[in-house]
């Protein structure tokens, strides 16, 4: 589904963040990308999202070279990805309801479907009472759950979770990881970037370890070893 082919990312003047990265993520896979802070995990995810371009090498999404794709094509790919980020990336001027419905509106879903689906998912995620609140009125855990609801609402093909539990307490961390596992069981691809040893060891899924911009380990049912 996603293929990195000899990808190198250099930030000017000569800071090498990723070096000759090659690996493939298959459809329906749960893959964790681990490494210390600054190892290159976030850059790797930003390249998948088309927020950064590889200096050398190519990244393919369902056979399409992301670096060569036009703006419209890139937005279509992004719509197939549900993102959960450490800084939540919520829309601060939109309510809880609007943050989720916006994603459905982008997809061109009709109002009836939005009115039915958004309250349902917010209820499931425990934000049914806060439908008209703004993100600034939510706690960190609630904001992260809102980000999760937003990532799932369109049933995307891939969920990318970049340090999704960084700001969460153990209970909310467990909730988010459980949700990711459920999503994966439903056949969706999950890419999790984290430096939380406990989560990785508990998951027992494929682990790609990055150190100084290089893949040093890629194991099925891997463990967090740095």
């Amino acid at each position: 589904m996603i293929k990195f082919k000899n990808v190198t990312k250099i930030y000017p003047p000569n800071s090498v963040v990723l070096e000759d990265i090659s690996f493939e993520i298959k459809e329906g896979e749960f893959i964790s990308i681990v490494g210390k802070s600054g190892a290159g995990k976030t850059t790797l995810i930003r390249i998948i999202l088309g927020l950064e371009k590889a200096t050398y090498g190519e990244v393919f999404f369902d056979g399409q070279n992301i670096s060569a794709i036009d703006s419209d094509g890139l937005q279509k790919i992004r719509r197939r990805i549900g993102g959960i980020y450490q800084d939540y990336k919520l829309l601060p001027l939109k309510t809880v309801y609007e943050n989720v419905s916006y994603i459905m509106a982008i997809e061109g879903k009709d109002n009836e479907e939005i009115k039915k689906e958004v309250p349902r998912i917010l209820e499931v995620i425990g934000l049914g009472e806060k439908i008209n609140n703004f993100p600034r009125e939510l706690s960190g855990g609630e904001q992260q759950r809102l980000a999760v609801a937003r990532a799932f609402v369109n049933h995307p093909d891939i969920i990318i979770a970049d340090e999704p539990t960084g700001n969460l307490d153990p209970y909310n961390t467990y909730e988010v990881i459980s949700l990711l596992e459920k999503i994966n069981k439903a056949g969706k691809t999950v890419i999790l970037s984290t430096h939380d040893r406990e989560i990785i060891n508990k998951l027992g899924k494929r682990v790609v370890t990055i150190e100084n911009g290089k893949i040093i380990r890629d194991e099925e049912k891997g463990r967090f070893i740095i």
């Binding site: 999202l49 927020l51 703006s71 419209d72 937005q75 279509k76 790919i77 992004r78 719509r79 197939r80 990805i81 993102g83 990336k89 919520l90 829309l91 601060p92 001027l93 939109k94 609007e98 916006y102 994603i103 509106a105 982008i106 061109g108 009709d110 109002n111 937003r150």
Partner: protein
């Protein structure tokens, strides 16, 4: 398509309302600059009126020999009119009219009254007072036509050469006033555009992170840009309503005062006769600059 359009409108109104403070600030700046431009439009009207008044005072006079018959003068008048299409007004003043005008003008002045009595008969000559639509050159052309040999038996003198310097000075001053006005207007409009652009940039800048997030979650350029563009339209429309009401009020309040300073000029009449142009300026400036500024600023943040 219609659903998306409605959504975009709803986003625009919601963002406008939720950013009340900055929205009001943007409208305030837009109102001030639109009023400045409207003021320039009125200043243009006032200066045009003053220039016209000054130009109307310019004329040349062809004096005829005292024995020239009125009939001959009227024939010459027609011939001058035919020969020069630039003539705005040509007025025949008989010897009697000239005398009456003089005595009326200097009524109570004993020196002039005594002088007239001493002269005995009417010392004034019949004349044609001519004004044109154009500049010094046109006055010179008319003067040349009058002084042609076929009229020489009747013409005593034409006062163009005496008035030439004054006419040239007046035209030069009015031309410079117009140029200065135009230059000042261009500078002020540019300043207004820059001020509004930067204010609207602040509005969009506040949503910089939001735009970036919208792009990351897959929103198309149109879906991100359109609410900001509609917000620009909202700013422009509200600013127009405020400016229009202020203009009506100011025209009404200042009209009587201005007509004392400039008899013949009515601000409220000028407002009424240029209503369409004023609406176009106020609505056009607000909406166009609102839309264009939003478009340009959002475009910068769309490159995500």
């Amino acid at each position: 398509m219609l659903t998306n359009f409605k959504r975009v409108l709803r986003f625009a109104f919601a963002d406008f309302y939720r950013n009340k403070g900055i929205s009001i600030a943007a409208i305030f700046v837009l109102v001030i600059t639109t009023l400045l431009i409207t003021g320039l439009f009125f200043m243009q009207g006032i200066s045009d009126f003053i220039i016209l008044q000054v130009k109307d005072k310019i004329d040349i006079t062809a004096y005829f020999k005292s024995d020239t018959q009125e009939q001959d003068i009227l024939i010459i008048k027609d011939e001058i009119l035919k020969a020069s299409p630039d003539i705005k007004n040509i007025e025949y003043v008989s010897q009697e009219d000239a005398l009456n005008d003089f005595t009326e003008k200097h009524k109570g002045n004993t020196v002039f009254s005594k002088a007239l009595i001493e002269v005995g008969n009417n010392p004034f000559l019949p004349s044609l007072n001519i004004t044109t639509t154009g500049d010094t050159l046109q006055y010179e052309n008319i003067s040349n036509i009058i002084q042609q040999s076929r009229f020489s038996d009747f013409i005593e003198k034409v006062d163009f050469s005496q008035k030439k310097d004054t006419i040239e000075k007046i035209f030069s001053i009015t031309k410079n006033i117009s140029r200065f006005g135009l230059g000042l207007a261009i500078i002020l409009i540019l300043v207004a555009v820059l001020v509004v652009f930067n204010t609207l940039k602040l509005v969009v800048d506040k949503s910089k992170e939001e735009i970036s997030t919208m792009r990351i979650v897959g929103a198309s350029s149109w879906f991100v840009r359109a609410p900001f563009i509609f917000q620009g339209v909202i700013f422009g429309c509200i600013s127009f309503v405020v400016c229009f009401l202020v203009t009506i009020l100011l025209s009404y309040l200042l009209s009587s005062g201005l007509s004392v300073i400039m008899p013949g000029f009515s601000l409220s009449n000028y407002f009424a006769s240029n209503l369409f142009a004023i609406i176009l300026i106020q609505l056009g400036f607000g909406v166009i600059i609102g839309v264009v500024s939003s478009f340009i600023v959002v475009n910068k943040y769309l490159k995500v």
